[in-house]
């Protein structure tokens, strides 16, 4: 694999851009692998990369039913932050943030990680107290966090509604300066290329239709490209976790729901940070092309359709205008949906399963993108050693049975309300 560098750009420019190599091989399946990772999204590709990089397991295949980057890794709003309150989440997401900070160098691929800072507005004294609690937890864990008052927020983001008629006046905000965004496609491509550099086979258009068993153990998969044997199988299929889980015989605390995302026509630079609205569910950043990228709530009923309904478009637009009246005339360019595997506590699941040979990485709800590197790192560890990585010890499937849920929002066990 040729390294990307300023020199390689120059050399290829001089030879008419005709000598670039494919970023990864178009692999066809071998009869068997040490590890098969199902799902060629960010988490699956990162898992394959870290299996090879950290654990020396190179006889690995990633099976993707569509194309790399066609699922949720290419459908999210690209926000990266580590401002979590609960033990287990706080440390895991900060570990992820540290991996993001070194990702472009580690993968030799520019993922355009931009630490532009993220703020969540507070709209009452009580809400700001809650944010102070969160900021203190973050600081005690060595994570940067600041509490801003109303005037600080006005200086930072003057385009929000600070008028006397604001529906929910802004009292302040919690701010994390190291938070930001990354180019989500580049993350998938970067991990695919780096995994391929470790001889991992990335097999696209290869849907897993069933599992091969030897007594109670899973020893491979049936796919649209035939049977493939495997020492271990890892599931990293996001919204379709239940579909494959049922085939494997897993009972899961997961419901699939659609989350929509939106982008407007390109504007001149306006939103320099990631801004989240504390009075409703709305968050926005501005892409390098100038489009405002934003999202809101789930559609609210079980769905495997990668499209949403117009009622939510209206709700999100209302929240947007309540926070940022200046964008009321901006036109929507596109909106799309992704299928989220929602858990009852909105926290993910990374663990060995009760079925021998099968490992689970799922339940990422609407927060999987920021976790991509740490998820891959810890899932690779879990597969390689057969035991959960210490950072994902709280993400076991058993926590629902034992009552150790991680309900960050305190929304209770209805997945569609998380």
């Amino acid at each position: 694999m040729a390294r990307y560098s300023a020199f390689s750009i120059l050399r290829n420019a001089l030879s008419g851009q005709k000598n670039w190599q494919r970023a990864w091989r178009a692999a066809e399946p071998k009869p068997s692998y040490d590890v098969i990772v199902i799902g060629g999204g960010g988490h699956g590709l990162a898992t394959a990369f870290y299996l090879a990089e950290n654990h020396g397991i190179r006889n690995v295949a990633v099976l993707e039913k569509g194309y790399v980057g066609g699922g949720n890794v290419g459908r999210n709003t690209t926000v990266i932050r580590s401002n979590y309150l609960l033990d287990g989440n706080t440390q895991f997401y900060e570990f992820s943030m540290k991996l993001w900070e070194g990702m472009s160098r580690a993968l030799n691929f520019n993922v355009m990680f931009s630490q532009r800072g993220q703020l969540v507005t507070a709209h009452s004294a009580d809400q700001l107290d809650g944010f102070s609690h969160r900021a203190n937890v973050m600081r005690l864990n060595g994570i940067d966090a600041d509490i801003l008052d109303r005037e600080d927020v006005r200086r930072l983001v003057p385009y929000l509604d600070f008028s006397d008629t604001a529906r929910f006046p802004i009292h302040g905000a919690i701010f994390q300066g190291r938070a930001g965004t990354a180019r989500h496609d580049a993350v998938a491509w970067g991990y695919a290329r780096a995994a391929d550099g470790h001889a991992v086979d990335i097999i696209q258009n290869c849907e897993v239709t069933g599992f091969l068993r030897d007594r109670d153990s899973i020893v491979g998969v049936e796919t649209t490209k035939g049977r493939i044997g495997a020492g271990k199988v890892g599931l990293a299929v996001a919204g379709h976790t239940s579909v494959l889980g049922v085939k494997a015989g897993l009972e899961l605390p997961i419901e699939s729901h659609v989350l929509q995302a939106f982008v407007t026509e390109p504007l001149k630079p306006l939103v320099d940070h990631v801004v989240a609205y504390g009075a409703d569910h709305f968050y926005v950043s501005q892409s390098d092309k100038g489009g405002l990228v934003f999202g809101g709530n789930l559609d609210g009923y079980n769905s495997y359709a990668q499209r949403g309904n117009l009622g939510v478009v209206r709700e999100v637009a209302e929240a947007a205008i309540a926070l940022m009246p200046c964008i009321s005339r901006v036109r929507l360019l596109r909106h799309w949906g992704g299928v989220m595997d929602m858990t009852p506590d909105a926290s993910p699941i990374i663990c060995p399963t009760p079925i021998d040979g099968l490992y689970l990485n799922g339940g990422w709800c609407y927060g999987g993108f920021k976790a991509t590197p740490a998820s891959g790192w810890c899932f690779a560890h879990t597969i390689a050693t057969g035991k959960p990585h210490p950072l994902v010890a709280a993400y076991g499937l058993d926590r629902f049975r034992t009552g150790h849920t991680l309900d960050e929002a305190g929304a209770g066990p209805s997945a569609w309300l998380q």
Binding site: H240, V246, L310, P413
Partner: protein, 93 residues
């Protein structure tokens, strides 16, 4: 948008309804001491990609709870029925 054919009020936009989740799970008896039964009731879902029986309440209409059978892949609604089939009034003895 979904259009739900309310047995009381006729075809209505789903925005008038509140979603109530999977209707195929059954609540254990109130005094059931088995934590496993409660765990399964509260958390475990089949989450099918296909026909799904689910609760909706017509909150801005007749306020009745419905059981809707819907395909989660394309939102085609196969049936709508009252969750409580009929309220049989007990006759005074």
């Amino acid at each position: 948008m979904l259009r739900i054919e309310c047995p009381c009020c006729g075809p209505r936009d789903h925005d008038e309804f509140r979603y109530g989740g999977d209707a195929s799970v059954t609540r254990p008896a109130h005094d059931d001491p088995d934590p496993e039964a409660w765990y399964r009731y509260v958390y475990i879902r089949t989450n099918p990609a296909g026909q799904h029986r689910e609760f909706w309440q017509h909150v801005t209409g007749c306020r009745q709870w419905m059981v809707v059978e819907r395909d989660t892949r394309n939102h085609a609604i196969a049936s709508v029925d009252f969750a409580r089939k009929s309220t049989v009034r007990k006759q005074r003895a």
